[in-house]
């Protein structure tokens, strides 16, 4: 429950009167406010500065230091105030959180000091309001990065328990980790450079021999170049295979860009080996050699800048696409115009519109080769317009793209981090909220414990338990309990609900609608569970012990195994149909009071739901149930495969 609306709990409880005429069962007893004191001002002395507030303001958030009994540790008897030896400036925003329900981050405050204050007072930083959350997270991230730089030297420590494969992968990814890795890194870099230089030098004319004309070096020293090429490719192949072996996820590695580049770099060589000197395909083979230039991209493993460039190009694809599109539009327009303008002139180079494309591109990018020039006046006029607009069309998007580069690049980095934090933040807030609904289920269990202790334990044990829930919580739980009673249904855990759904799907059962049965029966169904327990209340009507309509419910995990001891024939015991395969209709009756053993674990079964969470009445022995009951059934305990105890109950 959001503690901020704790002030409205009395209203919500009062409005529950609207359910009363509709409910068919009696309501649980309300928790009594033992400490009926008026609202009082309490003084919080923080390092000499005195803050005053109402006690109920602080009680709004019972899971923080100030809202719980933890502050009693700081109570000073002589001065009758709570003394905290903390920073009074930071305390202002913390106290404002209680007052307004919103936590703000003061900008002048150091981020780690503020974090410490929040941790001391038991407030999670995730509830900082949206107005200040951005600032808070930015400062925190900066701080973390600054701290991280100091820690980076420690990162290269050798982690224990790394097998050979992981070591190798780490060596590949971070060359600075070991000498071997560094050597490997430089060797591969060297061979990439060699390979690229070889490709280039291959085509340089090497000087004429006596009998032949100028030849490129590649054809002159074929063997040498071939050996060089082979050596490089062998190194690259070995490197690729080693990376493939060491990769933690081979499939993902094979799909990554770098490995594709590797493959493309070495493939032409092998294809060349495979293909013989077949004249037809050698033309295609020559083309393949072009792909050898892709080896230069292998340098991006060695250069951070190349990687950043590739990434930013990828992220600016839409802007680049727009530039290309607008250029294309302009080119087509001007080419058409120029073609028709120059159509009349003789010996014009503008033979067709596609031929004019070349002129337009050269003019718009202000290259101006001069191989095609317009001769007519109209052509010259349009030509000048073309070059002027070319400057505009190209000059305008480029700065936009450049600024987009830097903006998108930085933004991307920040957005990724923010997204990761947001998910964690939201999930943490969700967990805190879910705790409120779980708190109710938990208190039901506590209530069960309460009753057990009433009968078997001592007064102190019971007091210990009831102290755990605050008055506010117990009132809220009582409210939810009343709703359960009104609707004759219970709140359960998500998991149990799923389980129930599964099991109802598995078996078919007669429609269990207690409400369509007779008036007595309906009262008997849900109320019969309660009546035998309502000993403090007078006029408790005891329903006759006749079977009520079958509640052939799904398999339930018992949270409390009630084993009878004593005289069996005198008591009705609770029977629930726990065995999926049973044929006889089982009956769910009120459970009697003889409880001797209890094993509490999740979840609470319905037949054993406790009565009212704040059963503060004095422990009483249950009166002996009326006579004339069916003989006690036998109870066997079997353990299911899941390890939970399932009690099989069958009537004798």
């Amino acid at each position: 429950m959001a503690a901020g609306v704790a002030a409205w709990l009395p209203f919500a409880r009062a409005a529950a009167i609207g359910w009363m005429p509709v409910a068919n069962c009696p309501m649980p007893v309300a928790p009594r406010d033992h400490s009926k004191r008026q609202d009082e001002l309490i003084i919080l002395n923080v390092s000499g500065r005195r803050f005053q507030t109402w006690r109920t303001t602080l009680d709004r958030y019972p899971d923080t230091l100030l809202g719980s009994s933890e502050k009693e540790f700081f109570y000073n008897e002589e001065t009758k105030e709570y003394f905290f030896d903390r920073d009074p400036d930071a305390f202002r925003s913390i106290l404002n959180f209680y007052r307004t329900g919103k936590l703000h981050y003061p900008r002048y405050e150091c981020i780690s000091a503020y974090d410490e204050e929040l941790a001391f007072f038991g407030i999670i930083p995730e509830i900082i309001g949206d107005c200040c959350y951005e600032e808070y997270k930015d400062r925190k991230r900066e701080n973390l990065e600054r701290l991280q730089d100091d820690q980076e030297e420690n990162k290269d420590m050798r982690l224990p328990n790394m097998n050979f494969r992981e070591t190798m992968w780490r060596a590949f990814e971070n060359p600075h980790t070991s000498t071997m890795a560094l050597v490997f890194y430089y060797v591969t870099g060297f061979f990439i450079a060699i390979s690229v230089i070889t490709n280039v030098v291959e085509t340089v004319p090497c000087g004429a021999t006596a009998n032949q004309k100028d030849m490129p070096c590649g054809e002159r020293y074929t063997v040498a170049f071939f050996c060089m090429d082979t050596a490089c490719v062998m190194i690259f192949t070995v490197e690729y295979l080693m990376r493939l072996f060491a990769a933690p996820s081979r499939y993902r590695f094979m799909r990554s860009v770098m490995s594709i580049i590797d493959v493309v770099a070495i493939l032409p060589y092998y294809i060349g080996l495979v293909m013989t000197n077949n004249e037809d395909v050698s033309g295609a083979f020559v083309t393949l050699r072009v792909f050898r230039v892709f080896r230069i991209f292998k340098f991006s493993r060695h250069s951070q800048g190349l990687r950043i460039l590739g990434y930013t190009l990828k992220s600016c694809a839409s802007e680049l696409g727009f530039l290309l599109f607008s250029l294309t539009m302009a080119i087509i327009i001007f080419a058409t115009v120029m073609f028709y303008a120059e159509k009349g002139s003789s010996s014009s180079k503008f033979t067709s519109i596609p031929a004019s494309f070349w002129y337009t591109i050269v003019t718009m990018t202000t290259l101006g080769y001069g191989d095609m020039v317009p001769k007519t006046i109209a052509g010259k006029i349009f030509g000048s317009i073309c070059s002027l607009s070319g400057v505009l069309v190209i000059a305008l998007p480029v700065p936009v793209i450049v600024s987009n580069f830097s903006r998108i690049y930085h933004q991307n980095q920040r957005a990724d981090k923010r997204r990761a934090q947001k998910k964690a933040r939201l999930s943490r807030i969700r967990i805190a909220k879910a705790g409120s609904s779980n708190a109710f289920l938990q208190s039901k269990r506590n209530g069960l414990l309460n009753e057990l202790l009433e009968l078997t334990g001592t007064e102190e044990d019971e007091q210990k338990l009831t102290k755990n829930t605050s008055l506010l919580e117990s009132q809220h739980h009582h409210l939810l309990h009343c709703l359960e009673k009104t609707t004759a249904h219970e709140f359960v855990d998500e998991q149990i609900y799923e389980q129930n759904c599964l099991e109802t799907a598995l078996q078919s059962y007669p429609s269990r609608s207690p409400s369509v049965s007779s008036h007595d029966g309906s009262l008997g169904t849900c109320c019969s569970r309660r009546v035998k327990r309502n000993t403090p209340l007078p006029n408790a009507s005891v329903p006759p012990a006749h079977p009520v309509p079958a509640h052939q419910g799904p398999l339930q995990e018992l949270s409390a195994v009630h084993i009878q001891c004593g005289d069996p024939p005198c008591h009705t015991t609770s029977r629930s149909n726990l065995n999926l395969k049973t044929d006889d209709s089982s009956r769910i009756n009120c459970k009697s009071g003889q409880i001797t053993t209890a094993i509490i674990s999740l979840p609470t079964p319905p037949a054993l739901t406790p009565d009212g969470d704040g059963l503060h009445g004095p422990p009483q022995r249950r009166p002996p149930p009326p006579p004339g009951h069916p003989p006690a059934p036998s109870i066997q305990t079997t353990t299911s495969s899941a390890g939970t105890n399932i009690v099989k109950v069958s009537a004798l």
Partner: protein
């Protein structure tokens, strides 16, 4: 109820250049603030003591600084008490029950009057209030459709994860039981007299009416 004092603060921001009748440059801010009647008057009208009224008002004003609750805020506040289900429909009915003069907002007087009936009123008054809640169109009769709406709203608050599993016809069956109990002359509607009569004969209901007496 006495006339409320409502202050409307409006400020106009005109652009320097444009003419006064250009719509987009005018910014009219109006904040409705409501101040309740004096403490003595409320003390006289309700059954709360001065201190109790003080505590109530502090809590009220904290959540609604403007002094009035509109339906959305009301639904939000009420929904926080029932995290597992959907409390908005029932909150809507509750809102109509509290908003006695049907002006779309619940002021502090409405709030405290309602609470006074619910917490300090006689059983007759409480039953009257409950009947008023169920009678959605305030015509003096509770029909099956109205009751079904209310019932569905109550069951909605339970949410999905319940034991036993909530089925489609559960609210309808519950309405049937209710009508069997309450509708004495079987004419398909429940009048206020039938309702009060039947409730006074039902021990459970009578007992539960006293349940929240010491809430404040």
């Amino acid at each position: 109820m006495d006339a409320k004092r409502v202050e409307t603060i409006s400020a106009r921001v005109d652009a320097a250049v444009s003419s006064p009748d250009s719509v987009e440059d005018e910014l009219e801010l109006s904040a409705v603030r409501h101040r309740p009647e004096g403490l003595e008057q409320l003390e006289a009208q309700t059954r709360f003591s001065r201190k109790e009224l003080q505590i109530l008002y502090r809590g009220f004003k904290n959540e609604c600084p403007s002094g009035v609750v509109n339906e959305d805020t009301f639904k939000d506040i009420y929904a926080q008490f029932f995290p597992q289900g959907d409390a908005s429909t029932y909150a809507h009915f509750l809102f109509n029950a509290f908003d006695t003069d049907h002006n779309g907002s619940v002021s502090f007087e409405d709030f405290v009057m309602g609470l006074s009936i619910l917490l300090r009123g006689t059983v007759q008054e409480k039953l009257n209030w409950a009947f008023n809640l169920y009678d959605i169109n305030k015509d003096g009769y509770i029909t099956k459709e109205e009751m079904l709406d209310i019932m569905k709203a109550i069951y909605d608050m339970m949410g999905k994860c319940t034991y036993p599993v909530l089925k489609e016809e559960t609210p309808r069956q519950h309405v049937e039981i209710f009508f069997q109990k309450m509708d004495k002359n079987k004419d398909g509607v429940v009048t206020i007299d039938e309702f009060i009569d039947c409730c006074q004969n039902d021990e459970n209901i009578m007992r539960s009416m006293h349940l929240f007496e010491n809430v404040i």
